[in-house]
Subunit: 451 residues, 2 copies
């Protein structure tokens, strides 16, 4: 793995200080724009502003899109009106929307003031799509053809529209009312007879989404159909935009992070770890911590009910942490597997019987091994514990590990059926439910066999 970047931050700064405009332009032409953007992110505001004045705007707009939101804000505040307009002209509009969404209101105002009237309408339109909808991540820069265009006409149009389009590999065919009719790839065009009209070559069996569709569903279509671009239409099936695969990769990543956080009882946040303030961070965690602590009142209640027995057999309490952990872990394993499989579409709620049948057998197997090993562990390492207690504890391990697996695989499916998010509803609650169950089983068995 090598990206062959060969200029250091210091060298870049020196080129800027000595105003070596020619060399600067060469450097930015030659090296990878993502790597160069990283360096630009380290420059002072003055140095960066010099660069943005010096370099060509197709280069600066790309650099701008790759900068952090903080850097973007800093630059926008320092830009003159015409500079802002130039930047907006050169950026793809999904990049414009992505950075505008993160800017404070006064900056957004500043940007919109300097946009052309048409840009303003477009930006406002794009900003109005709901967060996480297809409309909010789409680009409106794409190549459009007519059904009657011949191959040479198509190529001419591609050359005309190609400089601003986000991709020219997929060209969309619409009718006079902008209704999406088909798609043709550049490959189709290149490999086909020059005299044919586009309507003969185009693929009419299109996978498309609506502006209001959830980005997670859009990502699932990309995976299912191995897409690199998907067209976005409105309610009348008019072509409005396209979503490209690079944005979908970000969506897949974000959604996975969100699911992971939810399973660990963290309310999802938008920003990165270091960018999130302590207060936001605490807020995203405290709610679930409190809910789970207060729901632990039940486990306390169960314990209180058996206070007399605990008093008579203190040895029993020694095993409570182990029992709760074993049950919690076993339950978590099952729920995690099912939650993830539901999220990726690998499992459906209609698979409940199959899941149960599988988990019952796993539960029996794991329960027996755990119970057996626990019995040996007590025998070998905890000589002071009497045989009867060891047996009760080991039996409880067997029963609770099994129960935990069944509860763990069932709760997420129920949550999904009730249209709740399985990661939120089932993930954090499993431990609490399973804890209460395991204590109950433990004391029931102890009452029966010990007293």
């Amino acid at each position: 793995m090598d990206t062959s970047i060969m200029i250091t931050l210091q060298e870049l700064k020196e080129l800027i200080w000595h105003k070596k405009i020619g060399q600067l332009r060469e450097v930015f032409e030659e090296y990878n724009i993502v790597d160069m953007s990283e360096l630009v992110g380290e420059l002072t505001l003055q140095e960066a502003l010099f660069l943005f004045k010096t370099l060509k705007k197709d280069i600066t707009s790309q650099i701008f899109a790759y900068l952090s939101h903080d850097k973007q804000e800093e630059l926008i505040q320092a830009f003159t009106g015409p500079q802002i307009k130039e930047m907006l002209d050169a950026l793809y509009d999904d990049d414009i929307i992505e950075f505008i969404e993160e800017m404070p209101a006064n900056i957004v105002h500043h940007i919109l003031q300097n946009a052309s009237p048409q840009q303003r309408v477009e930006i406002n339109q794009l900003l109005s799509y709901e967060e996480n909808s297809a409309g909010s991540i789409m680009s409106t820069n794409f190549v459009v053809l007519k059904e009657t265009d011949t191959v040479p006409v198509a190529f001419r149009k591609i050359k005309e529209q190609g400089s601003t389009a986000e991709t020219i590999h997929y060209c969309y065919i619409t009718d006079e009312r902008k209704v999406l009719r088909g798609v043709v790839t550049l490959r189709n065009l290149l490999l086909s007879d020059q005299t044919e009209p586009v309507s003969e070559i185009m693929n009419t069996d299109l996978v498309y989404v609506k502006t209001t569709d959830d980005q997670e569903d859009v990502a699932k279509l990309f995976e299912k159909y191995d897409l690199t671009v998907i067209p976005v239409v409105n309610d009348d099936k008019c072509l409005i935009g396209i979503v490209t695969v690079d944005d979908i990769i970000d969506v897949i990543h974000e959604e996975a992070t969100e699911d992971i956080h939810k399973m660990s009882a963290i309310t999802p946040m938008d920003k990165t770890y270091l960018d999130t303030s302590v207060l936001e961070m605490a807020k995203s965690r405290i709610l679930w911590l409190l809910i789970l602590m207060i729901s632990a009142t039940f486990t306390g209640q169960i314990m209180a009910n058996y206070e007399a027995m605990l008093q008579a057999n203190v040895a029993l309490s020694i095993f409570i942490p182990m029992l709760m952990d074993a049950a919690g872990n076993a339950g978590n394993q099952a729920s995690t597997m099912v939650i993830r499989a539901l999220a990726t579409g690998e499992l459906k709620t209609s698979d409940m019987m199959k899941i149960w049948w599988k988990e019952i057998r796993i539960a029996l197997l794991c329960g027996m091994i755990m119970g057996g090993v626990n019995f040996l562990r007590i025998l070998l390492f905890m000589g002071t514990v009497d045989m009867k207690t060891s047996l009760i504890v080991s039996l409880t391990v067997f029963v609770t590990v099994g129960m935990a697996k069944l509860v763990g695989c069932t709760l997420p499916v129920i949550a999904q059926k009730l249209k709740f998010d399985p990661a939120v509803m089932a993930g954090p609650l499993i431990t609490t439910v399973v804890d209460a169950l395991s204590l109950f089983v433990y004391f029931q068995l102890a009452t029966r066999f010990l007293l």
Copy 2:
């Protein structure tokens, strides 16, 4: 979202039974191949074999690539030698490798027997790359150009190689020793002067990977540089293959699933939930369950040490489940956030000081709220508990929530520094470590203030 499929399984079966070859070909031309593959997956072997004999091989090869491994195996066993050869000719070789890797040895033998000598060499070569390496997911079907090719020559070559190449949107330029020199997009070629040699247009600042690079690192490059294709080279920088973004999406998904499973103490598996046998499933879970149960011997030991005190104050034991859960949850939140941020590259081990400073403040905030609410909870709902015990319990909540957050954010970073996988080493262990700590603090505080 609409994929406009309009034929039912029943209709498809009827077309096959009545041998309506013309209509069948039309249907498979018209509808989306992924949807049609789903239908083919539901056919009987006889019906599917009829289809594979009837349809064009560029269609059947695509259908084959989308079928489940079980269906593929069934078909391969029923295919004649020439049919297998035809299928191998028409498939992209990353698809060949993907299905061969899942087939039992006798089927692989059967396939290799029917491959051409050159195919056999290629397949064996591709199969020899380590699992999860760039070499194991790459395709060797790509367009190659020479530096001296002019634009018209390039277009001619693209048309020649285009029918077998996995993508023609990116064409790679190599020298006579096959060393990778640059890349040119179809867009560059289309928008540039027809007389220019490719060397003038090509981009020499290439992001590439080696065959031995880990697929997770390859995926990170796709994200960082917004790529749709990446070239794969050997140690001498000779171009060997390309990895396309559709395969990378699968990698990103798999890696997220793996991390989620590891954090919940499940050893990662290759297959899907329903495809994995009960025995494999139990095996992937039992190891960690046992490790965690046996490590709970420590918590038992701590409890045993304070047996006398528990005997004298049974009320203390009532709060143990709640304390352990609160600490476990608080620790899990911190470790999950840090593990995920390390996995996505958002955090580095060098950020340890920043992480601590952040978590210390979150810990204080969450600890105080939790301690306070707990005190109120006992006062309101558990009237029988005396004031001194409530205070000790609430103080323990404050201390252990804080400690759990610090342990939770530190363990993953240490694991990463020691080159262990944070998800494996830190995820499952957090609860056990934090449980022991919280019990220790609880009994220490109780000894000091209660006796």
